[in-house]
């Protein structure tokens, strides 16, 4: 029995080591550049990180990212000037775009469609409108030099609060020992990514299933009017608190997932809207990745063409 236990432990250890090696060699794990909160209380990535984001068990989606000196995933450095025409594209993971090479991002696609324009992508996984408004406010000087600002707003998930507060809890959690171990042991990072730990989590949570990020959005007609009203109130609060330059700021949104009350309010206030729902609905090809809900190359191309079309006249 002793022999069996000793050998089992030895074999399990060696197999885990071999798997760690295989996962590294085949680059099955995804890399997540570290996050921090800067001196202006803006949450962003630690500058200078490069690596690869991976989706799917078998490396089905593999893309390179590059964090610029300002702390965002972009091919451009952010040096706006009065002479040049710049567009700031602000949003969450959809704009951060780890699911496609940084040099083939939505911003790059817009630049290809609009000659002489630079697109700065301020995308960060987890941003809501409060983060975005605070970013613009905190770096007011930089944004003053930028000609157009596009804020990607997911109405149902980005209007949960009326005021920005830096999320130290999340940063501390991601910098904690447990997460550091997970990120450094690539086998664990991989196992966690493909959901191998989900049954264990379910067992611990007493059979409760976690909310799946691939879950289909609830149809608008089923959504709660009261919640929609709270979202609109939060929106009003945020634009009052941080200011909203209507002359150069547009909201990129999907009207299929946005309340009419919100759209009517924006129209009445003269807030510029870019609705990409028709383009997505008309598309014969899928617009999102197979393995998660983020936009795929086709989705990004459609978004880029919507934005380029919207600003085509302003630039000329």
């Amino acid at each position: 029995m002793k022999n069996l236990i000793l050998k089992s432990v030895l074999y399990i250890g060696l197999i885990l080591l071999a798997l760690e090696g295989l996962v590294r060699v085949l680059h099955l794990y995804t890399e997540d550049p570290p996050r921090f909160i800067d001196e202006k209380l803006v949450e962003k990535r630690v500058p200078g990180h490069q690596g690869y984001a991976v989706t799917g068990n078998r490396n089905q989606n593999f893309s390179e990212f590059r964090i610029n000196s300002f702390g965002f995933n972009s091919a451009n450095e952010f040096n706006p000037s009065k002479e040049d025409f710049e567009i700031a594209l602000i949003g969450d993971s959809f704009i951060e775009g780890f699911h496609q090479d940084y040099d083939d991002s939505t911003g790059e696609k817009i630049e290809n469609l609009l000659q002489g324009v630079s697109v700065y992508e301020y995308g960060y996984a987890g941003y809501d409108l409060a983060n975005q408004m605070h970013l613009i406010n905190a770096y007011a000087q930089q944004f003053a030099l930028i000609d157009k600002i596009v804020i990607y707003l997911n109405f149902e998930s980005d209007l949960g609060r009326a005021e920005y507060q830096p999320n130290y809890g999340r940063i501390n959690m991601l910098n904690s020992m447990v997460f550091k171990i997970r990120d450094n042991i690539k086998l664990l990072a991989y196992g966690s990514k493909i959901g191998i730990l989900e049954p264990l989590k379910r067992l611990v949570q007493g059979g409760e299933v976690n909310k799946n990020e691939n879950e289909q959005p609830v149809p608008r007609e089923n959504s709660d009017n009261n919640e929609d009203h709270i979202r609109l109130t939060n929106f009003k609060s945020l634009i009052n608190l941080y200011g909203f330059d209507k002359t150069k700021t547009s909201i990129l949104f999907d009207s299929r997932k946005t309340s009419n009350e919100f759209i009517e309010f924006c129209n009445s206030e003269g807030i510029d809207l870019i609705d990409f729902s028709n383009a997505f609905q008309r598309s014969k090809k899928p617009t999102t990745l197979i393995y998660d809900h983020h936009w795929n190359n086709n989705g990004r191309t459609l978004i880029a063409s919507q934005i380029a079309e919207h600003f085509k006249n302003s630039i000329n």
Binding site: L19, N57, I196, E198, P286
Partner: protein, 484 residues
């Protein structure tokens, strides 16, 4: 409890520890532990059906003794054998076939213009594994009747024999002469046997989690939407189902045999690389061996086997295949599937080739098979796969519609995975799996028989990597044969 569940991951080491450390010195205590563990294992699904196992145990324990007591009085012995059969087949008949018979009667009457309402239909849940353990207990009574076995007086050992958890719900269907004798004798802790068991468990998990579970969504999609697909996709669906059902069931059997080895018990082999069979007769010597030998010993031979002339032998072959189909489930699809196999088997029998490959494997003395062997294997695989259209379809109408669709839309179109995965990954997987099975084709109980420790270790690591590469939390991971 499923083998591929977290609960089992906790359950197995715990029972193993109690068995070899706490109760090591006392056989009776070990057997009681087997019973408790087995009842817990089974009761995890539905504890109410434990009563059926217990009843089946008690009836056959008593019947076995009565048969033996009257062994010289053929009429009385036969009477007690009928009691066992009547009881076990009634259990099966009620829980598995009741609605089927009522439904079939109603359909039969409606064909002659008499409409009946199905007021007799019952909402019966099929107890998991009922077809397996009832056949196992019946084999005990049969063996005593045929004087191959003496009944045991040890009720604990007999209860452990019926309920032994590794093979309780999906076989192999053991014979008392093999399993009961091991349970009544002292087992010793044997390091090599345990390691061999662990290897089989690993191989079984690979077959289940990687081959069967990864192909399941594709097969489900094709069979559910067959009317929308061209012939190329439908043929692909049939082939992939062949690999799925093989991976699923043989994977289960390997885990069962491996788990039994951990407790010092050797179960019979249930699969011997059936995909390399050179004719349908060889296929049935390699596929679900514990069931096909059961039917041979307890049905085919008592009916006269092949000693009764060609015509009656053909009748006997037809009976065992149709009954074997019916054993799988209360559906005409299984009966047609069994009948098809009888049709495939009879010509082989008439040509006298049914025992031709009983003692050898493809490419027995060479690295590569001959062209003739490749042709035979391909033809057998095609026939067996074709029959599986009936096995997999939900109704007989669907089976024929599936075949009709192949004929009507005989065209090619690339198939896209329902979840969007690369199909080429699955083709490569099947190719590697088939090649590996070919390499180990001579010994189904030693899947990692490599001299080099390094090669063995590399294979273990790659198999586990395969499980990760094809892991999908969303796939229903129950075993196909649990429904039978």
């Amino acid at each position: 409890m499923l083998f591929n569940s977290l609960e089992f991951l906790v359950f197995l080491p715990l029972v193993f520890f109690l068995y070899w450390v706490v109760f090591k010195k006392n056989l009776q205590h070990q057997n009681i532990l087997i019973i408790l563990a087995s009842y817990l294992f089974y009761g995890w699904w539905d504890w109410r059906f434990l009563i059926l196992i217990l009843l089946s145990t008690l009836v056959d324990f008593y019947v076995g003794q009565q048969i033996f007591k009257n062994i010289d009085n053929k009429k009385k012995a036969q009477y007690w054998l009928w009691v066992s059969m009547a009881f076990n087949l009634s259990l099966l008949g009620f829980f598995k076939y009741f609605n089927f018979f009522i439904d079939s009667f109603i359909e039969m009457f409606s064909m002659v213009g008499y409409e009946m309402k199905s007021t007799w239909m019952l909402r019966i849940i099929l107890p998991v594994g009922i077809s397996f353990y009832t056949f196992q207990t019946m084999s005990y009574s049969f063996d005593i009747y045929y004087k191959k076995l003496k009944p045991t007086k040890d009720l604990v050992a007999f209860t452990a024999f019926v309920a032994f958890f590794p093979q309780l719900v999906a076989g192999p269907i053991e014979r008392a002469s093999n399993l009961l004798s091991q349970i009544t004798n002292k087992r010793d802790f044997n390091y090599d046997q345990i390691v061999s068991g662990l290897k089989l468990i690993l191989w079984g998990f690979f077959k289940k989690l990687v081959i069967a579970d990864s192909l399941a969504p594709i097969v489900d999609d094709i069979f559910a939407n067959y009317a929308d697909y061209p012939a190329s996709t439908l043929i692909l669906g049939v082939f992939l189902f062949s690999f799925q059902v093989y991976g699923d069931f043989s994977g289960y059997s390997d885990i069962a045999i491996g788990t039994a080895k951990l407790f010092g018990i050797e179960l019979m082999s249930n699969f011997k690389f059936p995909n390399f069979s050179r004719n349908v007769a060889e296929y049935w010597q390699r596929w679900h061996i514990s069931l096909s030998t059961w039917f041979r010993h307890y049905l085919y031979i008592p009916l006269g086997g092949n000693r009764v002339g060609k015509l009656l032998s053909i009748r006997n072959i037809s009976i065992i295949f149709i009954v074997s189909g019916f054993w799988h489930g209360a559906n005409w699809t299984f009966i047609v599937w069994g009948a098809l196999h009888a049709l495939f088997y009879i010509p082989v029998y008439l040509m006298g080739r049914n025992r031709m490959y009983a003692d050898n494997v493809i490419a027995e003395n060479s690295w590569f098979p001959s062209i003739k062997e490749i042709g035979q294997v391909v033809l057998t695989f095609l026939m067996v796969s074709f029959s599986r259209i009936f096995f997999r379809s939900p109704t007989i109408t669907d089976s024929f519609a599936y075949i009709k669709q192949i004929g009507e839309d005989f065209s090619y179109a690339p198939y896209a995975h329902p979840m969007g995965y690369r199909m080429v990954d699955f083709y490569i997987l099947i190719a590697i799996f088939t090649l590996y099975e070919y390499l180990i084709r001579k010994d189904e109980r030693s899947p990692f028989k490599f001299k080099s420790r390094f090669v063995r270790f590399a294979v273990y690591a790659l198999l586990i990597l395969g499980m990760l590469l094809f892991y999908d939390d969303g796939v229903n991971r129950s075993f196909i044969y649990f429904q039978f």
